[in-house]
Symmetry: C2
DNA sequence: GTTGGCACTCACTACACTTGAGTGCCAAGT
DNA sequence: ACTTGGCACTCAAGTGTAGTGAGTGCCAAC
């Protein structure tokens, strides 16, 4: 019943609380299973692992690993498969934390050097980059604009009794809503209102209460009234994050049960769920959540890798990867971290782009 | 060897060129197969169809239908399955073209009455509506802005040597790019440039060559230069359509081969391919393309339903549904048509929204 | 032209049997 | 106290044989 450090007091251990040999065996099982998706038997481990012990010894160790919850057998006469706990140990202890200049880092860096364009484009292409590098589904959650400052605000006459309210933020994004102003609003009144709105709002913050000006001219006042409502709606709307999901089709190949595929895909379609999933994982202080570790039952056979997007020491967004529990953790983690940190640099450095044309 | 009208010269036919009874049998097979996904046998047809003939007669007719390419047998002792040609006949002749006020029409109309918001939101929610009504994957291709007129154009200083060029179009959409203007561009110079750009561009059309003004002031001229390039890029960018894909997870359940699911999903992720698929089908004058009828091999087991979005007698966009060949054609067609036409009305009527708050 | 009857085909299931991968245990060796 | 080879045991997967039943095609009779 003793789970932790026990049973291997004399071994020269450097793995952690598992004993070097058990750790090596666990690693062999996990890597082989990740590669083949087939249960791994004792002789396969004996052949592969650097240990020079017989399969019988390995069998004994594997039995212990199973007893301790790191491995399971699908049926009596089969090899072993890692449990969530087994994968967890693998990522925590058996994976060296991205030694220096990983190839992923290099590739991501080069990619970001080449990308130009607006915020949305950068985010979307980041997500595509992630799925291409890892062949898992990727998620990029963009920071909301809670703390952004308004650079410019306008009301543009669209004709036909309608106008567009648009607000430019310091990070280079534009929020807009169209409003009905009624046929009697002259374009002069709209232009006047626009001027007032711009003067009043420039420099304000979206998350602070916003004071919309009034006017003595009733026509202008009417427009201002509509615009005020619209801006209020914009402020709440802009606070919510944008989500970019990339490469869900990659998941279809990862599972063999169609039902699993369906439920996982349908989760990915619900952006709110995805966002809170990532947030939950980050809040729990994890960068990897395996199987049941995140509470989302439909994703029980998935692992989630998350890396925060950090600006000024504050996590404002996240990038994530979603794949089967038997996923290529080292590469995937490296990729997610690299993209997360590059994105942090890019977004933190400045508005969020790199020049047109 | 004679395919068309023959062999049933004496029958009171109103089906078309197949004979009323064959048509009824074909219809029974198709509907039952759509429902059950199981091959349909002669006795099942005899029970279901309104015909009062024995299964032996039905067998003979079914053999003829198979000979003519409307049905196939998966193996000798199985029932029959419709071919692409069989489905085609079903949709063309055995489906009354949306008699008046279909429930789909009603639901779509009510939906559009309730939806408010900007163009993108309307499109996205349309796509969601479609997949919810039909449980197939939906595609909404929004019109490009080729013929839209510019309502307003501005350059907004973002600070840090960057600025945002934004163009508001009559349809209420906003196109934007950020540009690097260099640290020496004063906010006065940018404001001045913005004024010039707005004066020059308001009323112009994006698809016409755009003349960007110049200025004697070198600082302003530099900004104008950058803005000019950006606007050129915007014009080409804005011409391309926006694509909204909804509910791809619905496809996972529709096929049992994982490989099919994967390839179909990956097609759906390539927006360019989706757009040309819809365009091809429309150009061929079809509203339904079944199996191999569209040339896209990976979608050979899919059917595509398309309805154009028409403004001023010109097809500027499209809505589509993608499902297995054994799909609920009547309902799906009705839904696509309804959404297509409502969308046409909405977009054609005016900028593209319905008032905020 | 329709129908009931009938022989035939063939996927599917069940069952028994074999095979082989893999285990757990144990007694002997270091 | 570990390690190891040996051995009995388990069980999924593959193979061969029947039996079953859905469904067909054909044909003679109506």
């Amino acid at each position: 019943m003793s789970l932790q450090k026990s049973r291997t007091p004399a071994q020269p251990e450097h793995g952690a609380d598992l004993g070097a040999r058990k750790a090596a065996i666990l690693e062999a099982v996990v890597s082989q299973y990740i590669g083949s998706a087939q249960p791994v038997g004792s002789s396969a481990v004996a052949d592969a692992a650097g240990l020079s012990v017989s399969s019988a010894t390995i069998r004994a160790e594997m039995a212990a690993l199973e007893h301790d919850g790191f491995l399971v057998q699908p049926h009596t006469s089969a090899g072993r498969i890692p449990t969530d706990k087994g994968y967890r140990y693998f990522v925590d202890h058996l994976t060296q934390p991205t030694s220096g200049k990983s190839p992923e880092m290099v590739r991501v860096k080069r990619f970001f050097d080449d990308v130009h364009g607006g915020l949305e484009e950068v985010l979307e292409r980041s997500s595509r980059l992630l799925t291409e590098m890892t062949s898992y589904a990727s998620v990029v959650v963009a920071p909301g604009h809670t703390s952004s400052e308004i650079r410019s605000a306008q009301v543009v006459d669209l004709g036909g009794g309608h106008a567009l309210v648009l607000v430019v933020l310091t990070d280079g994004t534009v929020e807009k809503t169209s409003i009905a102003v009624g046929d009697d609003a002259t374009s002069d009144a709209i232009a006047h209102a626009s001027q007032l709105v711009n003067d009043a709002l420039t420099g304000a913050r979206l998350n602070a209460p916003i004071a919309v000006p009034t006017s003595a001219d009733p026509a202008v006042a009417a427009v201002l009234n509509h615009a005020g409502e619209a801006i209020g709606a914009l402020a709440t709307g802009a606070a919510s994050e944008q989500v970019f999901v990339g490469g869900p089709s990659r998941l279809a190949g990862a599972f063999d049960a169609v039902e699993t595929v369906r439920s996982v895909l349908s989760i990915l379609e619900q952006q709110l769920v995805v966002v809170s999933l990532l947030r939950d994982v980050l809040d729990a202080g994890l960068s990897v959540a395996i199987g049941h570790e995140h509470g989302y039952e439909p994703l029980a056979s998935c692992a989630v890798i998350v890396a925060p997007v950090v600006i000024d020491d504050e996590a404002v967004g996240a990038v994530g990867l979603l794949g089967p529990t038997r996923m290529q953790y080292p590469a995937a983690i490296a990729a997610a971290r690299a993209v997360g940190s590059e994105l942090s640099g890019r977004l933190g450095g400045r508005g969020g782009e790199g020049g047109a044309a």
